[in-house]
């Protein structure tokens, strides 16, 4: 909105702390930030426009490239939407393997988010520890799917590869090591007094504001809304007796801690999956047909929704994607950044909401 302010300080598009181009224009009174606006347009590729009129075999890969950080969930939601639409059954083993890969993806995404936050508040040591741990998770992802990013593991009616027995063992062994690491880093983050000074009671997002901006994912769960988790509606997760975690600190600190909590939770989920894993095929087959559907899934950053309409040959007639970052960044810049005590808190607060500009603009 057009307003006259004391000083408008722009951050970005190229900023040492932001990994992606976005411009945050802060309206300030002295050091005090009274409001912020975000200017986008640096990443607009028009994916939804490209997708229209293309066969699903092609759109599958485009969907994965909406966001490179959480590519598995985009793949999963798109394929599961097609499956639900045309009534394709998924073998039990494949359904569990999907959850394994999805949780690994969530782990690497959460670690990356926490790394960015630590890096932004200049706690480089912890950041590097986390980045090292992320590499271990990436190795596991590569072990199962064959690629680090954009692995296209999930196909209609199943998954691409089976998990071999020896791989399952090494997966479980690595998870043990990762869990020890996570607990250690969690203790470091929780106990660090300087970290506490930079993160506690900064960037408050109250529950009302979170509801208003429709915030989702860890950002909303850190404001005490566990029921926002879409995994509760997913049949496989229901079978695994999934219960979401939440915190009610509403500040940067809770948002980072809840990601650590979810890391542990993901590890637990993968263990449960691997214990349940039955023998059997991983690929049932099936061809998507005509239909229209709205399908949601829980991405690492929150609720991801696909609106899809296809014709008989499986071509996409109409598609729109609502990614979690849209809501979270909006909540961040219009509620959290308001009343920040100093400009120095702006990048860290912005990063704590785990912004992903690529999927915001698509």
């Amino acid at each position: 909105m057009k307003k006259t302010v004391d000083v408008s300080i722009p951050l970005g598009p190229i900023h040492p702390c932001f990994k992606e181009p976005a411009r945050v224009k802060c309206e300030t009174k002295g050091e005090f930030v009274t409001g912020a606006e975000v200017e986008l347009g640096y990443m607009k590729k028009g994916i939804e426009r490209i997708m229209k009129g293309r066969p699903w075999q092609e759109v599958m890969f485009l969907a994965e490239r909406v966001c490179g950080i959480c590519s598995v969930i985009h793949n999963m939601v798109f394929i599961e939407a097609l499956e639900k639409m045309s009534g394709i059954e998924v073998p039990e083993r494949a359904a569990l393997l999907r959850v394994v890969v999805n949780e690994l993806d969530r782990m690497q995404s959460h670690t990356l988010a926490n790394f960015s936050y630590c890096y932004t508040i200049e706690h480089e040591t912890l950041g590097m520890y986390l980045l090292d741990m992320r590499e271990k998770v990436m190795d596991l992802l590569e072990l199962i799917t064959g690629a680090r990013v954009t692995c296209a593991y999930i196909v209609p009616g199943g998954v691409r590869f089976d998990l071999r027995e020896e791989d399952r063992e090494s997966l479980l062994a690595s998870l043990d090591a990762i869990e020890t690491d996570v607990r250690r880093y969690m203790g470091m983050f929780e106990g660090g007094s300087l970290i506490g000074l930079r993160s506690r009671d900064i960037g408050i997002l109250s529950k009302e504001a979170a509801l208003e901006a429709h915030a989702v994912g860890p950002t909303a769960r850190a404001s005490g809304m566990p029921e926002i988790d879409r995994r509760l509606q997913h049949p496989t997760y229901q079978k695994l007796q999934f219960t979401p975690v939440s915190r009610d600190g509403c500040d940067n600190f809770s948002r980072i801690m809840i990601r650590f909590d979810e890391l542990l939770q993901s590890i637990e989920l993968i263990r449960r999956c691997s214990a349940l894993l039955p023998e059997g095929p991983v690929r049932g087959g099936g061809i998507p047909g005509a239909g229209e559907i709205v399908y949601c899934g829980e991405a690492p950053r929150g609720e991801l929704t696909y609106f899809i309409k296809t014709d008989d040959a499986g071509r996409i007639l109409d598609i729109s994607i609502q990614t979690p970052s849209i809501m979270n960044i909006e909540a961040c810049c219009h509620y959290m950044l308001k009343d920040a005590a100093s400009i120095a808190d702006v990048p860290s607060t912005f990063v704590s909401a785990d912004p992903c500009i690529a999927c915001t603009e698509r």
């Binding site: 909105m1 606006e37 901006a213 429709h214």
Partner: protein, 129 residues
């Protein structure tokens, strides 16, 4: 040189956001609701909203539709919460006189539906000004 970096004309980018599938549907819905032209509403939104808010319009619209905390029927039907808090098209000052007017019409014995339609048209007036 820095002039270009710091103030670029964003209208084209903002328009690109507004015409993508879901946003277009929501904007058309609002325009029909307020009885203004689609282009007029787009122009108003482009002028007054920042890009992040524009991206979030569909989600906010849904959240606003779901919210039924407001009890007064006239204000709710007019979308008091929806159009001031969720999609901040109007300020409180702009919408309150309209609510008063509609309440007066209802008190005078006009059927509620018609009164609300008149009220919405009045809100639409504000946009096209």
């Amino acid at each position: 040189m820095s002039a270009v970096i710091y103030e670029k004309d964003l209208t084209a980018m903002k328009y690109a956001i507004l015409v993508s599938g879901r946003h277009d549907r929501v904007v058309r819905e609002i325009a029909a609701d307020l009885q203004v032209g689609v282009q007029q509403l787009r122009r108003y939104i482009i002028r007054h909203f920042d890009m992040m808010l524009m991206e979030n319009i569909p989600a906010r619209y849904e959240a606003g539709k779901k919210d039924d905390s407001l009890m007064e029927p006239v204000a709710r039907e007019l979308g008091m919460e929806l159009y001031t808090r969720y999609i901040p098209l109007f300020g409180k000052k702009q919408i309150e006189p309209v609510i008063d007017e509609v309440e007066m019409l209802v008190a005078e014995g006009k059927p509620e539906e018609e009164a609300i339609r008149i009220g919405k048209a009045m809100l639409g007036e504000v946009l096209s000004r």
